[in-house]
C-alpha cells in the first residue's frame, strides 16, 4: 500500500513536467544541412553525407525495382536477379569472356529445349530431358575453367569491404558495401561495371540456391500461412506474392526473362548511389562522373500499373502450423504520399510499446494476450495496415478472443478523441526515434537511399512535420474511413496438433 501511494505522488509530479517539456527536437537536427546531392546527365542520383569519425565510407546503391514490378510467371525474378549480380559480369569473374560466352550460349540453348519439353508439354520425353541435362551438366563443368569464383565479392573482401550484401524488397533492391575511405573508387568501378556489363553466369546453379532460400523461408514457423494470408488480402496488386516468388515460377524462369528484366529496370535513371562517411564530396562527384557517367540512360520504367480495387466484402483465412496461435486483421489504406499517410504513423505510436494501448489493454489489463501490435501504412503503390495479437494459450485464451479485443480498440479510435497528452507522447517518440536512427552511417545511407526512390529524401523530414500536425479528429476520421469490416482480411492461425514423434498427422 505504501509503495502505491508513492507511485501516485510521483505520477502527479511527473504530469506537471509532461506539459513543460517542449517538443521541438527536429530543429536540433536538420538533414538539409547535411545531405549533399548531385545528378549525373544519365539521371543517376548521388547523395552524400560527411562523417569523419573513422576512415570508412558506407557505399550503397539502390534501384527502384522489386517484386511489385513482377507479373505472374516471373515472380521472384527481382530477388533472383539480385543473386545474379554477384556472379560476375562481362569483365569480372571470367578469364576468357569470348570462350565463356560461347559455352553459355550452348548451355542456354540446351535449357531452352529442356524447359519446353518439361514445362510446355503435358508428357515430355523424359529420356530426352535427361540426355540434355547431362550435356548441360558437362558443359557447366567445363565452363568452370573460365570462371573466377565470386570475383566481385572477393575483390571487395580483400580490400576491407564489410557490410557486404544486397537485399530485395517489394519495391527497392539495394547493394551494400562499406570500404576504407581511400577505396571508394573500387566501388565505383565494380558497381558501374555491374550496371554496364551485366552477364548472367551460373544462372542454373544459382537458381537452385534461390530455391533453397525459399525452402528456408518455408521452414520458418507459420510461413505458408502468412504467404496465403497475404495472397488473399491482395486481389489484384502485385504485393500479393512474396519477394522470393512462387517455386513453380522460379523453376521456369529463363535466362531471356532475366536479360529483359535487367534491361528494363537496371538503368541509371532508376537508381540512387549513397555515400556516407569519411568523404570529400567533390571527389565523389568527380569519380561518379567518370565511372557511372559512362552508363547510358535507359527508357524510364513505367510505375506499377495495377492498383488494388475496392474490396466490398470481408475475407477470412484459417490455418494451422507449428507456430504460436495468432490473429491478424489487415485493412487496405492509401499509398505513401496520401494526406492520411502520417495519421497511420501516429496510430502505430498509440497502439505499440509497453505504454501503447494494445499492450496495456490486451496484455496487462485483460490478460488474454501475450503480445499485440499494429503496424503498416502507405507503401509506394498501395497501402496496408494490420492489427495482430497472440493469445495467452496456456490459460486457454483463443485468437478469436484477441480479435474481438482488437476490434474494441479500433472502435475506440473511431469514437473517442485521443487525449492531447497521449498524442504528444507519440509525436515525441517518433521524433526521438528519428534522431536515434541517424546515428549509424549504414542506417542513414539506407534511409536516404530508400526515401529518395520514393517521395525524395527531403520527405523524411517533411513527413515528420506532417506527422506533428495530425489531430485527434484526423485519427477518428481515418479510423472510421478505413478500419471497416468490408475492407478487411482476417487471418486466424492455430497451433497444429503434433504426434509424439513430431510428425504432423496428414
Amino acid at each position: 500500500m505504501l509503495t502505491r501511494c508513492r507511485h501516485t505522488a510521483y505520477l502527479v509530479g511527473a504530469l506537471v513536467l509532461f506539459w513543460a517539456t517542449p517538443a521541438v527536437y527536429a530543429q536540433e537536427l536538420n538533414l538539409e544541412d547535411q545531405v549533399i546531392e548531385h545528378t549525373l546527365d544519365n539521371g543517376l542520383r548521388i547523395l552524400m553525407v560527411e562523417r569523419h569519425e573513422v576512415p570508412r565510407v558506407v557505399c550503397h546503391i539502390y534501384y527502384r525495382v522489386g517484386s511489385v514490378n513482377e507479373r505472374p510467371g516471373i515472380t521472384g525474378i527481382s530477388h533472383f536477379h539480385e543473386h545474379m549480380m554477384f556472379k560476375g559480369t562481362r569483365t569480372i569473374g571470367v578469364t576468357d569472356f569470348a570462350a565463356d560466352d560461347a559455352l553459355n550460349r550452348q548451355i542456354d540453348s540446351l535449357y531452352h529445349l529442356i524447359y519446353r519439353e518439361k514445362y510446355w508439354k503435358r508428357d515430355g520425353d523424359q529420356a530426352k530431358i535427361k540426355q540434355w541435362e547431362a550435356q548441360a551438366d558437362s558443359l557447366m563443368k567445363y565452363e568452370k575453367r573460365y570462371i573466377i569464383k565470386d570475383d566481385l565479392w572477393e575483390t571487395y573482401m580483400k580490400n576491407g569491404g564489410t557490410g557486404l550484401n544486397a537485399s530485395t524488397g517489394q519495391e527497392i533492391t539495394g547493394y551494400y558495401v562499406t570500404l576504407p575511405s581511400n577505396k571508394v573508387e573500387l566501388q565505383m568501378w565494380l558497381e558501374s561495371d555491374r550496371m554496364l556489363n551485366p552477364y548472367f553466369r551460373e544462372f542454373y546453379s544459382e537458381k537452385e540456391v534461390v530455391r533453397e532460400e525459399r525452402r528456408l523461408s518455408e521452414n520458418s514457423p507459420g510461413y505458408f500461412f502468412r504467404e496465403q494470408l497475404n495472397a488473399t488480402f491482395w486481389a489484384a496488386s502485385p504485393y500479393a506474392w512474396s519477394v522470393v516468388g512462387w517455386d513453380a515460377d522460379l523453376q521456369k524462369l529463363t535466362k531471356q526473362d532475366m536479360i529483359e528484366y535487367n534491361r528494363r529496370y537496371y538503368v541509371p535513371n532508376n537508381a540512387v548511389a549513397v555515400y556516407v562517411g569519411d568523404i570529400n564530396p567533390q571527389e565523389i562527384i568527380a569519380l561518379a562522373e567518370k565511372y557511372f557517367g559512362r552508363v547510358p540512360r535507359g527508357p524510364d520504367p513505367e510505375p506499377v500499373r495495377t492498383t488494388e480495387p475496392k474490396q466490398y466484402c470481408e475475407k477470412r483465412v484459417y490455418g494451422e502450423a507449428e507456430a504460436p496461435p495468432s490473429v491478424t486483421i489487415m485493412y487496405h489504406v492509401p499509398p505513401a504520399g496520401h494526406p492520411d499517410a502520417e495519421v497511420f504513423r501516429v496510430i502505430s505510436g498509440l497502439m505499440n510499446g509497453t505504454t501503447g494501448r494494445l499492450y496495456k489493454k490486451l496484455v496487462k489489463e485483460k490478460g488474454i494476450a501475450v503480445e499485440a501490435s499494429a503496424f503498416g501504412g502507405g507503401m509506394m503503390y498501395d497501402g496496408q495496415y494490420s492489427f495482430s495479437g497472440r493469445p495467452k494459450s496456456e490459460a486457454g485464451h483463443t485468437p478469436e478472443e484477441v480479435e474481438q479485443a482488437l476490434y474494441e480498440e479500433i472502435e475506440l479510435l473511431k469514437k473517442e478523441p485521443v487525449p492531447e497528452y497521449e498524442l504528444q507522447k507519440v509525436k515525441n517518440q517518433t521524433e526521438a526515434n528519428f534522431i536515434q536512427s541517424l546515428r549509424s552511417t549504414y542506417a542513414l545511407a539506407a534511409r536516404l537511399g530508400r526515401a529518395e526512390l520514393g517521395l525524395g529524401w527531403r520527405d523524411l523530414q517533411k513527413s515528420l512535420e506532417r506527422m506533428k500536425a495530425v489531430t485527434a479528429e484526423d485519427i477518428m476520421r481515418v479510423a472510421s474511413t478505413y478500419f471497416v469490416k468490408d475492407n478487411r482480411t482476417v487471418g486466424i492461425l492455430y497451433r497444429a496438433a503434433r504426434t509424439p514423434q513430431g510428425r504432423r498427422p496428414r
Binding site: 509503495t3 508513492r6 507511485h7 510521483y10 505520477l11 511527473a14 517539456t21 527536437y25 536540433e28 537536427l29 546527365d41 562523417r51 573513422v54 576512415p55 554477384f86 569480372i92 569464383k149 565470386d150 565479392w153 572477393e154 573482401m157 580483400k158 580490400n159 576491407g160 569491404g161 564489410t162 576504407p180 581511400n182 573508387e185 573500387l186 568501378w189 546453379s205 540456391v209 533453397e212 525452402r215 528456408l216 514457423p221 567518370k290 559512362r294 547510358p296 540512360r297 507449428e322 507456430a323 509497453t354 505504454t355 496484455v363 496487462k364 503480445e371 497472440r390 495467452k392 490459460a395 507522447k425 515525441n428 517518440q429 521524433e431 526521438a432 536515434q436 546515428r439 549509424s440 513430431g502
Partner: protein, 485 residues
C-alpha cells in the same frame, strides 16, 4: 550531354564509352589507392573509476544530440541454481519492468515513452547489461531513473506474474524454429549436464519468488561489479560529476561468484537426428572448440576465414553454395566461449535429399585444410580483410566505449586492440596449417541433422550416399517444451 540525347541514344552510348574508357582501368586490380593511416583510439585514454568502484569508459561525441550509457554487470544465467533455472533472465527483465522503490514500472514506462528515451536491462548467459539512451536535453532526468533502476529495483509482484505468463508462452514455441532446435541440441549434446545448457521449464519459472529476485540483485548489482560505457553530446568532466552524483548512495562491497563446474571437453562422434516435418535438413558438423583467451585465436580466425568464415571467399561457401547450388546458408564457425571451451562446426541447410552430399563436401574441406597449406592469395585476402576492416570497430563512440568495456570484462589487457593488427600480420601459412591440424578433428565429428529423418537419410540419383555412411545414427527425441520431460 543532355542535348545529345535528342540526336539519338546510340550516338550518346558510343560517345560516352569512347571518352570514358580512356581513363578507366581495364580491371579493378589496376586501381591504385593513396595510403591510409589509422591510429585506433586507446582504451586507457578513456578509462576512469568512480569513487564507488564503478569502472567508466567515457567519450564525448557531438554528432547527434543524444546520450548513451551501457553497463556490463558481472553475472549471468550461468550462476542460476539447479532448481531455479531462469532466475537470472527473469531478474534481468523484471528489474526494469517492475519499477523501483521510488517509481512504479508503469510510471517509468510512461515517462520514458514521453521523452522518447529508453532504459533496458537484460541478463544473458555470461553477463548482464543495462542501457539508457535519450536526447541530450533529458540526460539528467533519465540518468536519475537509470541509476534508480540499477540500485533500487522493486520487482513488483504484478510484473513478476506478467513476466511468468509471457515466459511460459515463449517456452511453448521453443521447438518451432528448426535452427533454434539445432543450435540448442548441438550444445546440449556436447556440454552435457552443465549450467551453460540448463533449460527453463514451466515449473522452474513458476517456482521463482520475488525474494529470489531481490537476493539475486543484492548479490550481483554492486558498483565495483559494473563497467559503464558512456558516450554522447556532453562535456566529459561534467558528465563524470553527474555519474558520481547519480550513483553516490551505492556502496562498494565484495562480490563472491558461485563456483561453476568445469566443462569436460570430450567430443561425441556420431550422427544424431531430430525429427521435424520440413523440406530441408538443418545440419551442424563439429565438436569442441576454444576459449577466446587461446593465443592461437588469431591464426584460427585467419584459418576459419579461408575455410568457411569468410562468406563467398571461403572454401565451404564457394563449393557448397556457389558451385553446387546446394544451400543458401553454409560455412564454418568457431563459437568461442570465454570461461569455457567453445564449439567449432560447419553448417548447412539443404533440401533433404542433398543432406548427405553437402555434409560430405564440408568434411572434405575439413580434411583439405588440415592436409595442405593454403595459397598465398587466400592468405592475402584473409589478412587484408581483417586489417582493412579493423577501423569499423570504432565507427560509433558508444560502440567503441562498449568494446573497451567488454574487453576489460573478459580480462583482456587494455592494449589488446593496439596490438591486434600486428598479431594478424604475424600469422603465417604454417600457422594456419598447424592450427587446422590441432583444432579440427575429422574423426570426432558430431553430425546433427534436424529434418524429416527418413528423407534426409537417403540421397538421390545425382547425389548418392546415405547418412549412415558417416556413423551410427541416433535419434534424439525432443523433450516437451513445458516440462522438459
Amino acid at each position: 550531354m543532355r542535348r545529345l540525347l535528342t540526336i539519338g541514344l546510340f550516338a550518346v552510348v558510343a560517345l560516352s564509352i569512347t571518352t570514358a574508357t580512356a581513363q578507366i582501368p581495364q580491371h579493378p586490380s589496376q586501381l591504385s589507392f593513396r595510403p591510409l593511416h589509422f591510429e585506433p583510439p586507446k582504451a586507457k585514454d578513456y578509462r576512469t573509476v568512480l569513487t564507488n568502484g564503478m569502472v567508466v569508459y567515457i567519450m564525448e561525441d557531438h554528432t547527434l544530440p543524444t546520450v548513451d550509457i551501457q553497463a556490463t554487470i558481472r553475472t549471468g544465467s550461468l550462476y542460476d541454481p539447479r532448481d531455479k533455472v531462469g532466475l537470472a533472465r527473469m531478474a534481468g527483465e523484471v528489474m526494469r519492468t517492475g519499477g523501483t522503490n521510488n517509481i512504479s514500472g508503469d510510471d517509468l514506462d510512461e515517462r520514458l515513452a514521453f521523452l522518447g528515451a529508453s532504459i533496458r536491462t537484460m541478463i544473458g548467459t555470461t553477463s548482464g547489461s543495462a542501457s539508457m539512451s535519450c536526447l541530450a536535453r533529458d540526460r539528467d532526468e533519465v540518468l536519475k531513473l537509470y541509476a534508480d533502476v540499477l540500485m533500487n529495483p522493486a520487482f513488483a509482484e504484478d510484473k513478476i506474474k506478467l513476466y511468468k505468463d509471457e515466459a511460459i508462452e515463449r517456452l511453448k514455441t521453443k521447438n518451432d524454429q528448426p535452427r533454434a532446435v539445432l543450435e540448442r541440441e548441438f550444445r546440449k549434446l556436447l556440454y552435457g549436464d552443465h549450467p551453460l545448457v540448463w533449460e527453463q521449464t514451466k515449473a522452474s519459472i513458476e517456482g521463482i519468488t520475488r525474494q529470489d529476485l531481490l537476493d539475486f540483485h543484492h548479490t550481483y548489482f554492486v558498483p565495483n561489479n559494473i563497467i559503464l560505457a558512456v558516450a554522447g553530446d556532453f562535456q566529459r568532466e561534467e558528465m563524470l560529476q553527474k555519474l558520481e552524483e547519480a550513483f553516490a548512495g551505492w556502496q562498494r562491497r565484495q562480490v563472491t561468484l558461485p563456483r561453476i563446474p568445469e566443462v569436460v571437453a570430450k567430443n561425441r562422434p556420431g550422427v544424431f537426428m531430430i525429427q521435424k516435418q520440413i523440406n530441408q535438413g538443418y545440419v551442424n558438423v563439429g565438436h569442441f572448440g576454444i576459449k577466446d583467451t587461446n593465443p592461437d585465436v588469431f591464426a584460427i580466425n585467419v584459418m576459419n576465414f579461408i575455410l568457411g568464415g569468410g562468406s563467398f571467399t571461403s572454401r565451404i561457401t564457394s563449393k557448397v553454395r556457389s558451385d553446387e547450388g546446394l544451400a543458401y546458408n553454409t560455412g564454418s564457425r568457431f563459437a568461442n566461449e570465454h570461461l569455457f571451451p567453445g564449439t567449432f562446426y560447419g553448417y548447412v541447410q539443404t533440401k533433404s535429399q542433398t543432406v548427405y552430399y553437402a555434409i560430405s563436401l564440408i568434411l572434405k574441406e575439413f580434411e583439405r585444410i588440415r592436409r595442405e597449406p593454403v595459397s598465398d592469395e587466400e592468405m592475402e585476402t584473409a589478412k587484408n580483410y581483417f586489417l582493412d576492416s579493423f577501423p569499423d570497430r570504432f565507427s560509433t563512440a558508444i560502440g567503441t566505449m562498449s568494446t573497451f568495456a567488454s574487453l576489460e570484462y573478459d580480462g583482456f589487457p587494455l592494449d589488446y586492440l593496439d596490438t591486434y593488427c600486428a598479431k594478424i600480420r604475424a600469422v603465417t601459412k604454417e600457422d594456419v596449417l598447424r592450427v587446422a591440424k590441432k583444432y579440427i578433428k575429422p574423426g570426432e565429428m558430431t553430425i546433427m541433422v534436424v529434418g524429416d529423418i527418413e528423407a534426409c537419410k537417403k540421397g538421390d540419383e545425382k547425389h548418392p550416399g546415405t547418412l549412415d555412411q558417416l556413423g551410427r545414427i541416433t535419434e534424439i527425441k525432443l523433450p516437451d517444451p513445458l516440462t522438459g520431460l
